[in-house]
């Protein structure tokens, strides 16, 4: 793979990871769905199963919050042809509706497997490791 193609893939994968956060934080389920392969595996607080299970659980989970901000650090991306993996430390801020404006902050890492599909990179498996949580 040329250096240029490698850089283009790296940027496309970063964009994908950030589009996921945008989708969650804007409550845009279609945007969230578009980041994953239809049969992607998902293992996190919302579901252990497939991305369809996670998407089914998402609206109720989000309704508890006035806003969320999934603040992502630098992803570590490893590309191997049409497959890739990435690890991304993230601080997820949840603004509570009740009590109003209180923050729930959770530190996680997204471990993702990705594949190049005809219409671009997609997450095919995501496992979320939860490290810490703080209320206040």
């Amino acid at each position: 793979m040329s250096g240029l193609a490698r850089l283009a893939d790296d940027l496309a994968i970063r964009d994908l990871l950030y589009r996921y956060a945008r989708g969650i934080d804007r409550r845009d389920l279609d945007l969230v769905r578009s980041c994953f392969a239809p049969d992607a595996r998902y293992e996190g607080a919302l579901a252990v199963g497939t991305i369809a299970d996670m998407l089914a659980a998402l609206p109720a989970a989000m309704s508890r919050y006035a806003a969320t901000m999934h603040f992502m650090g630098e992803p570590a991306v490893t590309i191997d042809g049409d497959s890739a993996r990435s690890e991304t430390g993230t601080i997820a801020y949840h603004v509570l509706d009740d009590p109003p404006r209180r923050l729930r902050t959770v530190g996680v890492r997204y471990d993702d497997l990705l594949e190049r599909r005809v219409d671009g990179w997609r997450i095919v498996a995501r496992r979320i490791h939860r490290f810490w949580e703080r209320a206040g």
């Binding site: 283009a8 940027l11 589009r19 956060a21 901000m69 603040f71 801020y93 404006r101």
Partner: protein
Amino acid sequence: MSDLAYLRDRHEIRDLVTRYACAVDRRDFQAVAACFTSDAEADYTYFKGPIRDVLEKIRAGVNGFAMTMHVLGNHLAEVHGDTATSETYAVCYHRRPGVPDGAQLVVAMRYLDDLVRTPEGWRIRRRHATVEWQQSEPPRA
């Protein structure tokens, strides 16, 4: 547009947004101004207007704190020829003067920018800084 030109534009736009944050924290207001076109408009939620007015508000605001630190995260940009749009997450820490270590104001924003390619490089010509949440004097660890 070639892949190389696209990657270069994306990189320069990310650099521009980051340069803004570093310049504010260093209180280099000339460098802050250089991130915008001279006719730019900005809405920072707490204040808005033509960029020259907004820059004065930023200067006065930042100078009222003992220090600021703007931490940037998620960044997405779309390039359309000589214009672009971008969204950048920021968590901004402001320490008040004359109070013990840890007493600070934390403001989380999203910078929604319209950018334009100029002979000197990419510049912001419209900025909307939304406030997602803010917190004063968080509990001590």
